[in-house]
């Protein structure tokens, strides 16, 4: 095959093949999430097992599609590398694509094999699809590298940074889910406490959830009543189910979709304005990109809202977010240090407050603040979660804003 054909094949593998595989995998995983909680989704009688089976099948399909997607993604990267005769980590498209790959692989390995919670992978796959789709906005054809980039230092520094950014993206997903779920739990608990004064149900999500870590047990704890003392076990089951359904409906209703959409739009705008401000883009294209990024995230937020009742308790999500961000922070620290070492070799100084260096330092400070907030009484929990969200916004600004808007030594990483 000629170089051009290889390049074309590589492009096809990226879009639509990988994108579609990731998207479908996310859908299957998300469906399987709805079957992990509660009993009312399953038909009565012998159908119960069958329904459990659907969830398992969906989970299995989700994993299979995710692995197929990763395979396609890796093949895309390899082909692109062969066409360019270099590691495909030289411009924004390649960074974004590799970031999505890192995030998806990290999510799959961590959730599927370490945490054994594959159903949560749906959100990571969704984020991976979004990040990968956003790479379309900065697509560039394969090309050679500037000689200053042609060194193993680039592989070292850029790989570390990109992998960490991918892991931090997964951490952002968990943080956002945690905040959503926590808000819903709090509001529902507050509403129930208001009705049943003196009840302790409001405390359920805080520290009382040691025994098991799935949402059905939260439902039981938060809504333990509703049983008829004289009822049969079947009656109890039904009462439990009704309570669980009511609790889940309440959880979803606790978050206003309009407010969520509005705040997601505004929050995303703190970063995505750079597309409008990019000097090399026409205003129309810039606005189009701005809107597609914002609306994509709003859609993702609304989907996540729909799944709030099926999420594990807030504390579990918080723990997941912490684990992921801690690993990403370590990688980021290492990557920044590697970058400083490379800068000493290449630019003759290890740190010069170039916009990108400043941005990566800012990201580091923001995530350090998150980790410190996690260790501070009074700030752990929601405050830390918000810091985590802002830290990700800072990371994205460092990534897009500094490349597209601000001219610095790292500018060659931008669009071609």
């Amino acid at each position: 095959m000629s170089q051009d054909q290889l390049a074309e094949l590589s492009r096809l593998l990226y879009s639509p093949v990988t994108l579609l595989l990731y998207g479908t995998s996310a859908a299957f995983y998300l469906y399987s999430l709805t079957t992990t909680v509660g009993r009312q989704d399953q038909p009565r009688g012998g159908g119960r097992l069958a329904a459990l089976g659907y969830g398992r099948i969906a989970r299995w399909l989700g994993s299979a599609l995710a692995i197929a997607g990763i395979t396609a993604h890796v093949s895309h990267e390899v082909l692109r590398g062969i066409v360019q005769e270099r590691l495909p980590l030289g411009n924004m498209f390649e960074f974004t694509s590799a970031m999505a790959l890192a995030g998806v692989v990290a999510g799959l390995v961590y959730l599927q094999f370490v945490r054994k919670r594959p159903e949560l992978n749906g959100f990571v796959m969704m984020a991976g699809t979004l990040v990968l789709a956003s790479a379309l906005l900065v697509y560039s054809s394969p090309g050679p590298l500037q000689p200053i980039l042609d060194t193993w230092w680039r592989s070292f520094h850029v790989t570390l940074i990109v992998i960490s950014a991918g892991i931090l993206t997964a951490g952002f997903v968990f943080t956002a889910l945690y905040l959503l779920r926590d808000t819903a739990e709090r509001r529902v608990a507050a509403a129930r406490t208001a009705v049943t004064a003196g009840s302790t149900v409001g405390a359920a999500h805080v520290s009382d959830l040691h025994s098991a870590d799935d949402a059905s047990s939260v439902a039981e704890r938060v809504a333990p009543d509703g049983r008829d003392p004289a009822g049969t076990p079947e009656d109890d089951d039904r009462a439990d189910d009704e309570d669980a359904v009511r609790y889940r409906t309440a959880l979803r209703a606790a978050i206003s979709p309009w407010k969520l959409a509005l705040f997601t739009f505004l929050g995303t705008s703190t970063v995505s304005w750079v597309f409008i401000a990019t000097p090399t883009l026409e205003v129309g294209t810039g606005v189009q990109r701005f809107l597609s990024v914002n609306l994509g995230l709003v859609a993702a937020a609304l989907i996540a809202r729909w799944f709030v009742p099926f999420l594990p308790p807030a504390a579990t999500l918080d723990g997941l977010a912490y684990r992921t961000i801690a690993l990403g922070f370590f990688g980021w620290t290492f990557g920044v240090i590697a970058g400083a070492m490379w800068a000493e070799q290449s630019w003759g100084r290890f740190w010069g407050w170039d916009p990108k260096e400043t941005g990566s330092f800012l990201t580091w400070v923001a995530y350090a603040a998150y980790l410190h907030a996690r260790a501070t009484r009074g700030a752990r929990g929601r405050s830390a979660g918000w810091i985590g969200l802002w830290a990700f916004a800072v990371l994205m600004f460092t990534y897009y804003g500094v490349n597209l808007v601000i001219v610095g030594l790292h500018s060659y990483a931008g669009l071609q």
Binding site: P144, W153, T333, F334, W353, H372
Partner: protein
């Protein structure tokens, strides 16, 4: 809380002045009125006041919340520095902002300038933030390091009165004697580098093996991580004081430059750097290789592909070294690191006024992106009367077309063309601040302009003859000496080496108690434990330990009694340890 100033009325008060609600069920006589509180000491003396303020400030600094606020302030300052151009990096952009030609306008820029936001990293605010952060770090480190040292030196794993009630507890039965089980457990735990309590018995209690692990690594890692910032600070200050950085441009084939203080174009010596520290070698540029993707249709068209200098260095005692300096491969000569930073063209001009040569030198031309990409420089001949100045725009690839030269903007010098404008008058050298690339034309009269190819010459009407002799290239080198680099490396190693255990190590305790069961004649072994962090990881470790201990003593895991309790173990790891943890930050 409520505060009562006057005589108390009976019954609960709802209009509490402090805004709280005091709903006391107790009879009024149980809540006697509280008069104005007597002051614990007399009027405060000034020294007392100062001391109290210091103590209060110190307590404020020690708080983690303060550190968080300071990190937030640091983040905001850094964010400003990302968005606003910084004078030490891009002075020209800052000037453009101040002039209002770029950025948000002159008024906003003037406000930014008032707050020193064009040089955030040199501003007092930034230094004050850093100072407070370090102070906060120190305030927090001192008690932590002391507590940690005490912990590591004195800690003996504590016994548990009820190991079977620990957060993770599993029991198994074996035929081995209790003493054998205890010895086996001690050996097993010591092999896995647990800290094991020496004596099995403590007073009247039954014998028990108590062990602890991860005692110092998590907190120690965190301390190492935080202490690395002192090394970092020390290294940076040390480098500022005793390092040297200088820039110089060298033209191909010319004698080059020697490493002495006077020959650098710009230099930034540390306070403790003196002239004798220069190695005094001479560097000549034998050749400079640069090439690009020349095919305009190829991917990455116009990008450079090679960028390397071949240099000859002659040391002070006559030793000659040939070396090749590339973008990512600087070369160090006698402690001075030479980095290739920049390059450009160096046209050699000869300027003659009335038959007298007033200038013959290479003009150092730099790439400029205004309009068609070109290289720009200026020649300044103050020895003529009046002064002669040349403004030069060099187009490296301007082949002749049908209607004169085609300015392509390509950087390869296949058909160089210099567009020259001559000026006479006052160059104002030494009176106004001007760059070596540009003329200050405010006191100059334009004499005429023309375009020259290498070898051409022209005589303008005012008697100035300009000869474009030849075109060469120059390379900008940075020569630096950074004695702080090993220390920076040490700081990085401490940072990373500390960060990993600080995030992933976990402290846990384990108790093994074996008792003879009189009825069955077997030995019942209870293995209980608790983790302060990462309960899930501990649960797996605990499982392995129990299995190995059962294997070593021929035991059988009990299926039913006592049931393994895994209550708190599945809780997310971020929950604070419930036992006092002397290492934790307050």
């Amino acid at each position: 809380m409520s505060r009562t100033d006057g005589p108390r009325t009976d019954g609960p008060r709802t209009d509490d002045p402090a805004g709280g609600t005091l709903e006391s069920e107790a009879p009024p006589e149980m809540n006697p009125a509280v008069g104005p509180r007597p002051s614990p000491r007399g009027p405060q003396e000034p020294i007392r006041f100062v001391w109290d303020s210091v103590v209060m400030g110190w307590r404020w600094l020690v708080r983690m919340r303060t550190a968080l606020y300071l990190l937030g302030v640091l983040a905001i300052e850094t964010l400003i520095a990302t968005v606003v151009p910084q004078a030490p990096n891009v002075a020209t952009t800052v000037d453009a902002w101040l002039a209002g030609t770029e950025g948000p306008g002159a008024t906003v820029s003037a406000v930014l300038d008032t707050f020193g936001l064009f040089d955030v990293y040199g501003s007092t605010l930034f230094l004050a933030t850093l100072f407070l952060l370090y102070l906060s770090l120190t305030a927090c480190m001192i008690p932590r390091v002391r507590a940690w040292v005490r912990l590591v030196r004195r800690s003996v794993p504590p016994r548990s009165r009820y190991p079977d009630r620990a957060e993770v507890a599993v029991a198994f039965a074996t035929a081995a004697e209790p003493d054998e089980v205890h010895t086996a457990a001690q050996r097993l735990l010591r092999d896995r580098r647990w800290r094991v309590r020496e004596e099995l018995r403590d007073g009247a209690g039954p014998p028990q093996v108590a062990a602890e692990k991860g005692l110092w690594s998590r907190e120690g890692g965190s301390l190492l991580f935080h202490l690395s910032f002192y090394v970092l600070l020390g290294a940076v200050v040390f480098g500022q004081l005793s390092g040297f950085t200088g820039q110089v441009g060298v033209v191909e084939g010319e004698p080059g430059f020697s490493d002495t203080i006077s020959q650098y174009w710009t230099r930034d010596p540390g306070r403790l750097w003196d002239e004798g520290d220069h190695a005094a070698w001479t560097l000549a540029l034998d050749g400079f290789e640069v090439d690009w993707v020349r095919d305009p249709l190829a991917p990455g068209a116009g990008q450079p592909t090679t960028f390397a200098s071949d240099v000859t260095v002659t040391s002070a005692d006559g030793e000659v070294t040939d070396a090749r300096i590339e973008g990512n491969a600087p070369v160090t000569f006698e402690g001075m690191k030479v980095t290739q930073l920049d390059w450009g063209y160096a046209p050699l001009f000869q300027i003659e006024v009335d038959g007298e040569v007033v200038w013959e030198d290479f003009a150092i031309a730099r790439a400029s992106g205004d309009g068609i990409p070109h290289f720009r420089t200026a020649a300044k001949a103050p020895s003529a009367e009046p002064d002669v100045g040349l403004d030069v725009f060099l187009f490296p690839f301007a082949p002749d077309g049908e209607d004169g030269p085609q300015l392509t903007g390509a950087p390869w010098a296949e058909a160089p063309l210099a567009v020259v404008r001559s000026y006479r008058g006052d160059l104002q050298l030494g009176r106004t601040q001007q760059s070596i690339w540009q003329l200050d034309t405010s006191a100059l009269e334009p004499g005429g302009d023309t375009s020259l190819r290498p070898g051409d010459e022209i005589t303008f009407d005012d008697g100035v003859t300009v000869r474009f002799v030849e075109l060469r290239r120059w390379v900008g080198f940075q020569v630096s000496n950074r004695p702080q680099l090993p220390w920076l490396l040490l700081a990085s190693a401490m940072l990373l080496g500390g960060l990993w255990p600080a995030l992933y190590a976990y402290r846990r305790r384990l108790w093994v108690a074996a008792t003879r069961d009189g009825t069955t004649g077997r030995t019942l072994v209870t293995v209980g434990g608790r983790a302060f962090q990462r309960p899930q990881a501990f649960e797996e470790e605990h499982d392995r330990l129990v299995r190995d201990l059962a294997g070593a003593t021929g035991g059988q895991l009990l299926a039913s009694a006592p049931p393994p309790r895994v209550t708190a173990a599945t809780a997310p790891s971020h929950h604070p340890p419930t036992a006092p943890d002397p290492g934790a930050r307050p």
